[in-house]
Subunit: 217 residues, 2 copies
DNA sequence: CCGAATCTCCACCCTTCGATGGAGAATTTT
DNA sequence: AAAATTCTCCATCGAAGGGTGGAGATTCGG
């Protein structure tokens, strides 16, 4: 494998430092060229159209449009587009949704340069590359039922520390109904009480940690 | 301010990509030179001794030795050392401990290049630089009591979703005692039930999210 | 159009949790 | 060494949470 074509890469990542790091790392690599950068989801789509990269490195959490949405939209017009998802924390939901949306690989930001480069090459070659630890977690997720919209509402309230009575008031339903939803979502999450539900929701990224900031002073 | 001496900077950060990004960003800045890099806490101390930087950029979460410990140790032998703390997520505890330990400034990884450069200059000039949002949170923290070791044990168990009975067994105390500790820590955290305690603990970084991975299959 | 599946809702019982009040041991202050 | 503070421990009681079973409403495929 001596003379092969250069892989065109687009870097979509809102953290300046990380984006610069990726660009700097890839600049010294033979056969890979960063042809575009984007700092949010909307920009990512625009840059994709303009640069026509072979592989797109994309952060899941970005302003304006999430990484998952970007992947979905781009794949509607360019189904063969290849994505490598970047994220700091490996929450279950993010992995699942991104891979569902068509991402071929998943990298944590703590990766090594070798990880990065070999993953780009692998994905460009049309193959997928899922780390064992993540593949396992993904497998565990199979068979896990989805939460209904209402159950999700209740879970969100639980994570925010509300009592059943408060939840009932907030959602304008009876307390008994709240309990039913809770019972149902406890089963689906595979936990036995509301505290476990709350930590599971945070850990899996079902309810974002940022939403916890005290909104009632 | 035309001709001023070059600021010598040490970058201590375990994420390769981020470290590379910082170095790349600073490389093009006049008057700032990266004189060393470190990928964990132990290395950070060694590099500090070797490079004698004016300012050290340091991540709080690092292998082997945490950023806070590194700051404490270095300041024992070099009290005038200046630190800028880096972190992805602005948890209360991290901020508090790092500033207690002697850090002069606090930067989120989503910062701009201007933020980075001006903060380095400010800190090198001997001043502190705390973002308003963080200063406010820090102020709120004043008057907040510390958790006792035992209360911390109980809180950790709560976050892991254990019932009072399970906690009693795990810590080898009576269930009634568990309740006392809970009552006490609820007050100190400013919350009203265990679920709020759990989310607060995670959000403030008192109990790390990583510790939630199922450890008993 | 009708059954099947699913979402949403509710009432009852029992367990667990949180509040309160208080006592002995350990640490620090004076 | 005595006093004061703080940590640790415990029992009882009302309130909140979770388990169970079932009913009306909605959506979907045959």
């Amino acid at each position: 494998m001596a003379a092969q074509e250069t892989i065109r890469v687009l870097v979509a990542e809102d953290h300046h430092v990380v984006r610069q790091g990726l660009v700097a790392l890839l600049k010294v690599v033979q056969g890979i060229e960063v042809v575009g950068e984007a700092a949010d989801g909307v920009e990512a789509i625009a840059q994709f159209r303009k640069c026509q990269p072979n592989v797109t490195l994309i952060d899941l959490r970005m302003p304006r449009l999430s990484g998952v949405e970007v992947i979905q939209r781009i794949r509607m017009e360019t189904p063969q587009a290849r994505f490598i998802v970047l994220t700091t924390y490996d929450g279950d939901e993010d992995i699942y949704r991104a891979l569902q949306a068509g991402a071929r690989a998943y990298l944590l930001k703590g990766m090594t340069t070798d990880d990065l480069v070999s993953t780009i090459r692998t994905v460009h070659a049309g193959k997928s590359h899922i780390p064992p630890a993540i593949a396992q977690r993904l497998a565990e997720r199979v068979g896990t039922e989805e939460l209904t919209p209402r159950e999700f509402d209740v879970l969100e309230q639980i994570v925010h520390g509300h009592s059943n009575k408060e939840i009932a008031t907030a959602l304008d339903i009876s307390e008994a109904t709240v309990k039913t939803h809770i019972n149902s979502l406890l089963g689906k999450l595979g936990v036995t009480d509301r505290t476990q539900a709350a930590t599971a929701a945070i850990q899996r990224g079902i309810v974002p940690l940022e939403s916890l900031r005290k909104p009632k002073p």
